[in-house]
Amino acid sequence: MPKMNLTHFEASLLFALFISVAMGLTTKKTAREQLIYGLYCFGCFLATLVGLAWLMKLGHG
């Protein structure tokens, strides 16, 4: 079985994608609401990812 090598960013993006899809599908009723909530969750994951990355960069100097 081949081993996959992903960067932190790629792995986090994939993780955010899977969780956002599941959150959108299971928490909202209509397809439109599911899509909007899924995109919202994905956006929140991305914002947190970029925010924490900057925080760590600034923290390390």
């Binding site: 081949p2 992903l6 792995a11 899977f18 899809v21 599941a22 599908l25 299971t26």
Partner: protein
């Protein structure tokens, strides 16, 4: 005394019968998306199956490790027992992988670490799906 049967009636009315939701939830645990399929939500079933399967496969490809239950201090117990429950929640994917002899040791490195988290996340997505199946089965959700 006369209130007791009334209270019991109310409680049994509030609690849906097991036969209504248990088969769908069990199928949903064993085969991700299977509960939705059983309840004729085929589109949702396919997407959830895909999300759990892909998350699990990425975890395997990144050589993530499975948790085995360990007890000791509170932190160890929560991490290892919780991780084991998360792994087990993937249903047939976890059982089949273990049966095929996958036994990746927990080694250092960010890729392995992400793999371990992906394997647990696949199970947790399936838990979300099972809760959704339960709510659909009891009529709380369409």
């Amino acid at each position: 005394m006369a209130e007791k049967p009334e209270q019991q009636e109310k409680a049994s009315a509030a609690r849906p019968p097991l036969s209504k939701w248990l088969p769908a939830v069990l199928v949903g645990w064993l085969v991700p998306g299977g509960g939705h399929f059983l309840l004729k939500r085929k589109g949702r079933a396919a997407i959830l199956f895909g999300a759990v399967l892909l998350c699990f496969l990425f975890g395997l490809l990144m050589r993530g490790a499975f948790f085995s239950p360990q007890t000791g201090d509170l932190f160890t117990t929560v991490i290892y027992c919780g991780g084991f429950v998360g792994n087990l929640a993937s249903g047939i994917l976890y059982l089949f992988t273990k049966w095929m002899g996958y036994a990746q040791p927990d080694v250092a490195g960010h890729v392995h670490d992400y793999g371990t988290k992906f394997l647990v996340a696949a199970g947790l997505i399936n838990v979300l799906a099972m809760v959704d199946v339960y709510e659909i089965a009891i009529g709380k959700k369409s």
